[in-house]
Assembly symmetry: C2
Homo-oligomer: 211 residues x 2
């Protein structure tokens, strides 16, 4: 099944091949194609950024240390936020963890996690008549390492403030349960937003998206 | 933080200890406590069953075989259904997989998966004013093995029919993409529905819940 994008790309290639190219125009064509591909990459990055910013939570996979499911992947729900002081998207995925829950002990044993974001979390697919497993129901899988944030770092308090604005219940978590603020250090991003398989997005393209 | 259940249990224990027990009444007390604990277990099983039946999809963790995130847990979205011919809950979690997606190749390399279900998938927590990470926003993590269903088995066609009723888009998946129907063989169930940590539910208690 061909994607709209790959069809468009094929069309551009067809137009290019009709052109009686000189050396100069071939370089120009290559530049056009390169720019087109770059633009597509940024679109996928934007989709990932939008998914993250709209989501209040992520399904987080970790390598389980729980004795009942040791060696299994565990999937837990964690509340997330990526907002700056003006509630704008930064792409920086922050969350509170506690060692009393599943994810806390897991990442400290083997620091590899994946966060799933889907447009179905906010029922956008259901409302648009799309099945949650259809590739047109946009999703992003963002893998990386959990990084405990340093309370003495100047970004710490604004990040926590933004998090608590989004998740008012977190006031009690911080008080009662030794929750600690973390950020995801992103190592890989997959985006599915149409037929034709997942797209890879680099962390730098993801962070470079402006609002 | 004490749970309502554990407070109730402590109260029962206190009443028991006020009782000038004979050997006979101690046995009776033990029976009462055993029955109380059994009832609680079934409540947690019922919560897991209700979460599964309400959900159209699960966040599925697998051990990734994708070369970009090898050794990581992958988390994917899969459409699920557990209905019988009358759309009643059976607890049997069925889903279509394809080897073109992430989960397909993963389970065939190492058959350990965990499915997350949360009341926030249907926005029940948001609408009830509960943060998705609060333990009162009920969730269940169900771990086990993927079992490919046998098309010649008599349960196959009714299961596929129920699945397609729930997920009409699946008609095209089966036609075009070599999707295959699977069922989860459950090896462990965790349920969080209140403060005080996760509850373990056995697969037999889970399946024993009647509607």
């Amino acid at each position: 099944m061909k994607t709209f994008h790959s069809l468009l790309f094929a069309l551009i290639l067809a137009l290019v091949s009709l052109d009686p190219s000189s050396g100069y125009s071939r370089r120009k064509d290559e530049r056009i194609i390169r720019e087109y591909k770059r633009e597509q990459e940024l679109n996928h990055a934007k989709i990932a950024r939008d998914l993250v910013h709209r989501a209040n939570w992520a399904a987080v996979g970790s390598l389980s240390t729980n004795e009942r499911v040791k060696g299994y992947p565990m999937v837990n729900i964690i509340s997330i936020d990526d907002s700056d002081a003006n509630n704008r998207s930064t792409g920086r995925i922050r969350f509170l963890l506690t060692d009393l829950d599943f994810t806390g002990p897991d990442w400290q044993k083997d620091n590899k996690v994946t966060l799933l974001f889907s447009d179905e979390q906010t029922l956008r697919c259901k409302e648009g008549g799309k099945d949650p497993m259809e590739p047109t129901c946009a999703r992003s899988m963002i893998s990386g390492q959990v990084k405990k944030m340093d309370p003495s770092d100047k970004s710490y308090q604004p990040s926590l403030d933004a998090y608590v604005r989004r998740h008012p219940a977190a006031i009690n978590w911080v008080k009662a349960h030794n929750f600690y603020l973390c950020e995801l250090e992103i190592s890989n991003i997959f985006v599915l937003d149409f037929y034709g398989g997942p797209h890879k997005v680099s962390a730098s393209d993801y962070y470079a998206v402006s609002n």
